[in-house]
Amino acid sequence: MSHMDTDPLLRASGLRKSFGDLEVLHSIDLTVRKGEVVVLIGPSGSGKTTVLRSLNGLETPDGGRIEFAGGPDLDFAAPLRKRDRLALRDRSAMVFQQHNLFPHKTVLQNVIEGPVQVQKVPKAQAIAEAEALLDRVGLREKRDVYPFQLSGGQQQRVGIVRALALKPQLLLFDEPTSALDPELVGDVLTVIKELADEGWTMVVVTHELSFARAASDEVLFMDGGVIVERSAPQQMFTNPQHRRTRQFLDRILNPLHERQD
C-alpha cells in the first residue's frame, strides 16, 4: 500500500454493458494507480465481475473507454479490432474463481504456456522463472503433476502463478477464494496479500472483507450496475455513507441477525 505513487495505470470511464434487456453496467468510472489495490464488493449480479472481465477484454463493453498508461486507449463506441483486444489482454492477467487451469498440461506447462507461446520467452528462461514463482507459493515440488492431483487451494495458487508469469501490469482476481473450502482460503489470501505488499497493482472482486480491510487502498461498493460508494477500507467498513452499502455490509457481517437499518 505504501508503494502507491500517483501515476494512474488505468483509467476506465463511462463503461456500459447490457446483456439483452438487462443493463449490467451503467456508466462505470474507475481509476487504478500503479501499486494500488482496489477491491470491488457488492451483491451478486451487481456487475463487479463484468467490470473485471471488461478490463481483461473477456467482455466487450457497449460503450465507454479503457485507457492504460502507455496504451492501449480503447473507445468502445467503435467496434474493437483484434489487435486492440490482444493489446488490452497484454496489460493484465486474470485469476479465475474456478482456476481454469489447463487439465491436459502439468503445473509447469500451465505456467510457461503464456510466456513461451505468446511472449516468445526462451523456454529455459521461462522454466527458471516459473520454478522461482512456484517456489514462492510453496509448490515447486508439484511442477510435474497435473492439476487434478492438486487440492483446490494449490490449484488456485498455480492459477496465480500462471498470471504472474506473464508479468502483467495489472492483476485481476475474480472471487479467487469463493470456490474453496473454508480452511483453504487463508493460504490463497496470504499469497495475494504478499503480492499486494510487494507493490503489484491489482483489482480484486471478493467477499472476503478481512482481506479488503488488510490489503486494499480503496474499496468500491457496486450495486445494480453502478458504483454506489468508494472510499478507503477503514471508512467503508466503519462508516459507510450509503444505505445500500450499510445493508450489504450488515448482511455479510451478520448473516443471521435482524437487519439493523
Partner: protein, 223 residues
Amino acid sequence: MSDSAQLFLDSLWPIVRGGLTGTIPLALSAFAIGLVLALIVALMRLSANRWASSLARAYISVIRGTPLLVQLFVIFYGLPSIGVLIDPWPSAVVAFSLNVGGYAAEVIRAAILSVPKGQWEAGYTIGMSRSQSLRRLILPQAARVSVPPLSNTFISLVKDTSLASMILVTELFREAQKIAAFSQEFMLLYLQAALVYWVFCLVLSMAQGALETRLDRYVAHGH
C-alpha cells in the same frame, strides 16, 4: 483333411492379403483425409460466418442423409457421364473420405463444445488469440473426448470398405467373392470373410483401449 478345411486354408492368405493391401490402406487413407475434412467442416459449422456454417450444415446433411453405396456409385459410375473418369481406388478414397468427413464433423464439433468456456478464457487471459487457444488448449482436450466416438467411426469405415468391391476395388471382400464364385462354396467363403473382418476389428478395439488409457492420464479417476 476335408475339402472344406483345405479350401479354408488355401483361401486364408488371399483374403487376409486383400485386407492388408486393400481394406486397411483404403480405410486408413480415407480416415486421415476424412478427419482433416471433418475438422474444417466442424470449425465452419461453429463459425459466426453464416455462409460457412450453412454450407457445413448442408454438407453434413447430404452425407448423412444418403446411402454410402449410392455416394460410391455417383462418383465411380455417375461422374464419367459428365466427363469425369476416376479409377476405382481413388474413387473409393474420395467417397469414403467425404463420408467420414460428414460423420466425424459432428463428433468433433460436439467435442469442441464439450470443453468448458473457462478454458477459452484462460487462453485469452494469457494473451492467446482465438486460433492459438483452439490449437494449443481446446483441440487437445477435445481429442480426448472424441477418441471413443471416432474409433467407432473408424471401425464402421473398415467394414464399410467392403462396399468398394462393388466398384471393382481389390480388397478383402472382393477376394472372398472371387474365390467363392470359382469354388461355389459361398457359405464358407463369406463366413471366412466375416471372420477376418471381425479379427481386424478386435485388434482395432484393443488399440482404441490403449489410446484412451494414454489420453486419460491427466483425468481424475474414481472421483
